[in-house]
Amino acid sequence: MEGDTWVLVEHWRGRVTETTFETLALGRELADSLGGRLVAVLLGHQCASLAAQLAAADGVLCGEHDALAEPSPESYAEALHQLSSARSPAAVLIPLTNVTLGIGTLLGARLGLPAVNFCKDLRVSGGNLEATCTIYGGKMEAVVAIRRQPAVLGIWPGVRPVDKGRLTGAPPVENVPVTLPQPQARFRRYLEPEAGDIDISQVECLVAVGRGIQDKQNLAVAEELAASLGGAVCGSRPVIDQGWLPLSRQVGKSGANVKARLYIAAGISGAPEHVEGIRQAGTIVAVNTDPHAPIFSFAHYGIVADAIEFLPAFTEAVRKRKQGA
């Protein structure tokens, strides 16, 4: 396997997304192993200015077309197909998100090659590419060997630190023409989320409060943390029953099953009724004054502390980090 490593740039509403930077970080490792270049493939419409954020790559391939103005898997896959057929990269890395879902599969189908999904790690072994993929909801890892190129790889969010792929500068940009028909699925318009309450089962980052928060006034502390993390506040049953949060924010047996990538359980003991709702959460952080609270068996990180003291300290630390980045 030899050649360049391509990373499809995911951009949304004029911003290059964090998953792109994570994927670039992984792509850099792969490119170095293969001895080729790391190329960021920037497809879209009037998006050339985003190239400046892609300095982690050795170069940017920019293809603009009005059919690429909205995320349309068929158009993006067709464009990628044209480009990769002409230039034979070793691997094409595509972040797996709501924006890009389907592109890898269609590209693989056009190429007659598998599009390997759920990759969290890549390495070169004996001239072949080995992808480590987490499947079955994270319960198993499968290592897949890929011998033919280009390897089409769907990459999970969070595989590498964002900072490692986020460099600004002036990478060399090559503009390439793409010829595309109008997509069969025609975009009409966006529907913005309604003002009003959110669906916590769809929120990526949650700050959950339990009885340990002690009083309704202290919710503010959780809300500030949630704001700094770009997430939302939810709660275990007692908090909802007290009327501190609406029913739509309840997590657990009588509430929502959440899938947040980051779940902060503050002052929650970890009763089965609550834990049932967080089994699919990504990383769980628990804060509780009781070192034997059951929640610590389910969490990845634990802090024995009063949530009312810890949350403000953590909010401060998060803000500092975000400013410093």
Partner: protein, 402 residues
């Protein structure tokens, strides 16, 4: 008022069409419309169709209206109406399940929490959605070995049907471990089904999900026929009712007891073992199934009074008047539904009464009560004042075990 079903046991389960073919069914039609059932129903203020109205509409031939209302989802099968009916009509046993079955079939949408619980029971044999292979995880922290029939199928005296809450819920597991210690101290020859055990299905039946009950019955009967045992003792109060009253029509022929009455029967051997003094003031909550439905009011009190140091007090509503914890008949999985409608949780109501009785321990014998009352204590901020303990936990605590 709490006599056993007697003649009904022998009859086929009546349907609404065949109601008049059975003695108990015909008895339904002797209703004198007094309204005691409606008055005693814990959710009476929101129950649009208490038994009185149902029977009135049955007579008028407009029962269909009841079937298309969701009001009967409020029934928690607490047996209050049955216990108070001056005509002795077996309301909770005969009339309500038939009506609720029809309601359930017509529900445009099953409330989400209930939906999940029923799906889990069907698929995994327990409402929690925990894998069957974890049903015996509670044995791991027990110092006493427990015989599992699948591993050792020799004949046994007692098949102990542990029940779902007492297998999977951490507090239920405490009760199971206490029960094992008691059985061991009393030299009871017992074994469990282990991971082969699945929900007995009684609450599904009471809710109207008779198809699920039938499926579970088929499964459980197939398991029972694999083994040889003399009697079944269960920690589940609803399971007790299922095995005693409904499984016989599927061929179940064993004597059935609840662990509480089983231990009460062994009190002369148990009492000398209760040597540690427990200085608790205890209020006993009468379980709906064991109490109103089966009349076991004095047995649990005898057990508690056998513990040295225990001071027994009564709540205002005790014995036949006890206030249901709200867990039966599907109520265990309807909290979000009731909450959305603005109802007070029955367990909150009961726990306030318990706290007012001056007790520091609320003693129970039904697994639903344990989870629900502890939760209510927490929510109401009374958990500093009072704890919930299963009778078996108190008995085991009073045994000085080496």
């Amino acid at each position: 008022m709490s006599a056993s079903l007697g003649a009904f046991e022998a009859a086929l389960e009546p349907t609404l069409e065949t109601l008049t073919h059975s003695p108990e069914g015909r008895k339904v039609l002797t209703c004198m419309q007094c309204g005691v059932c409606a008055g005693t129903c814990p959710y009476g203020d929101v129950m649009e169709y208490p038994p009185r109205r149902i029977i009135g509409m049955l007579r008028a031939g407009v029962l269909e209206k009841v079937f298309t209302s969701d009001s009967l989802l409020n029934c928690v099968a607490c047996y209050s109406c049955l216990a108070k009916c001056p005509r002795n009509i077996r309301l909770t046993e005969v009339l309500l399940p038939l009506v609720k079955e029809q309601v359930f079939l017509r529900l445009p949408e099953v409330p989400a929490e209930l939906h999940r619980a029923l799906q889990n029971i069907l698929r995994y044999g327990n409402p929690f959605g925990e894998p069957p292979r974890k049903r015996t995880a509670w044995l791991k922290t027990l110092e006493i070995p427990v015989r599992i029939l699948a591993e050792d199928p020799r004949p046994v005296d007692v098949l102990w049907f542990v029940e779902c809450e007492n297998s999977y819920h951490p507090r239920g597991q405490d009760v199971s471990r206490a029960t094992v210690r008691l059985f061991r101290a009393l030299n009871v020859d017992f074994a469990i089904l282990g991971n082969e055990e699945k929900c007995a299905g009684e609450c599904a039946r009471l809710l109207g999900e008779t198809g699920l009950f039938d499926t579970l019955t088929d499964y459980n009967m197939a398991i029972f026929t694999k083994y040889r045992f003399d009697r079944l003792v269960t920690s589940g109060t609803h399971a007790y009712d299922a095995f005693k009253y409904h499984y016989p029509s599927s061929g179940f022929r064993y004597p059935v007891e609840h662990t509480m009455t089983f231990l009460a029967g062994l009190l002369d051997r148990l009492k000398p073992l209760l040597t540690r003094r427990l200085n608790y003031t205890v209020a006993y909550h009468d379980s709906c199934c064991l109490g109103r439905h089966n009349g076991f009011y004095e047995e649990p009190r005898r057990l508690l009074q056998a513990i040295p140091g225990i001071r027994l007090v009564e709540m205002v509503h005790n014995r036949v008047n006890a206030i249901c914890c709200g867990g039966g008949g599907g109520g265990m999985w309807m909290d979000t539904y009731y909450k959305a409608k603005g109802y007070e949780r029955l367990s909150d109501r009961r726990v306030r009464e318990a706290a007012a009785s001056g007790a520091d321990v609320l003693a129970i014998s039904c697994p639903y009560e344990l989870a629900r009352f502890e939760d209510s204590l927490k929510v109401l901020g009374l958990d500093g004042k009072m704890v919930v303990r299963d009778i078996n936990e108190l008995l085991a605590e009073s045994m000085e075990v080496s």
